[in-house]
Symmetry: C2
Subunit: 207 residues, 2 copies
Amino acid sequence: MAPDRTPAKAHGNAFGNAFGKVFIATSVDGFIARPDGSLDWLPAGGDGGEDYGYAAFMRTVDGIVMGRSTYESVLGFDGWPFEKPVVVMSRTLGASDVPVHLRGKLRITSAQPAQLVAELRAEGWSSAYIDGGAVIRAFLAAGEVGEMTITRVPVLIGAGRPLFGDIGCDLRLTCLASQAYPSGMVSTRYRVEAGGRVMVRNGGGDE
Amino acid sequence: MAPDRTPAKAHGNAFGNAFGKVFIATSVDGFIARPDGSLDWLPAGGDGGEDYGYAAFMRTVDGIVMGRSTYESVLGFDGWPFEKPVVVMSRTLGASDVPVHLRGKLRITSAQPAQLVAELRAEGWSSAYIDGGAVIRAFLAAGEVGEMTITRVPVLIGAGRPLFGDIGCDLRLTCLASQAYPSGMVSTRYRVEAGGRVMVRNGGGDE
């Protein structure tokens, strides 16, 4: 252990039953977008029909939780790509910002992760796809990510929006599976370990 | 392509014959050490005798090139761990800083990557193990890394010394092999593609 990091008791929200599942692509240097949000470094659509496990993953979640930035990217797609319900975390958008064609498919919330998880569990959700860098980091910090599938795109882009940030502690992971695809993508599924959580002594944590 | 990045001709030093090979472990969030240099997050020694391909890798290189910081870490080990010749890149150390017991095994140079590669090639080296974050980034920027083996340790440490930096261009990689070990480490070997090099339009590159 480094002197400034001490073991802590397991997190209040047991990771073994954590609500969130992450499924995301990053460059080998850990970025999910260029500084301007561009995704031009991702393989062009199609890729021989390979979905890198996305459809199978989507069958394991009850819905999707994303941030405003991800939501606005998705709005630019041809058509709404999700069949399952979507929750957008935003402090600035409100219910009246939901486009007419998305009513019933999408809601906007200003709740923080723990409160949102409690609400969604009360509605019968047992897990959600957590998407977007800021939302992923907030759920990791709240102890509400149980599993992460990270697909590494074989490129170094040098600068951009990082997937991870400093949440004030180490998080130990267990590799559940790893697969290399003919395209050069390498997809690894990790469990986030509650028992391996190590908090920083001098605050910054969420206990 | 993002508007600020344009394709460029292949690098002067053909990547296909690039001199440097990287073999390094990083956390899943891309750090090679904590902010203070600590490596306590790496698995404890032994690990069932698994070397993650290190011995086989070392047979493919003629020697090791490292920075001062890596060198000083290695000096703290029990005994000198390298049988092949070592070159330390440093602007502050000189030949008189080589300890007596390492004379003949180690030399110190103030040369930049391209010059050093020319010198070592002239001595008959065809490739070198490039070790240490700053030296790896300098060799990547100089177009002198042909291959990288990155072993992901299953932990998020949140902050530290990153492996990669911004060298002013994209570098496309080709995945040559990927292996998941029972310990949870995932080791992926990439070729660095010369043809995929994309320079930033407004300088910062090395052409």
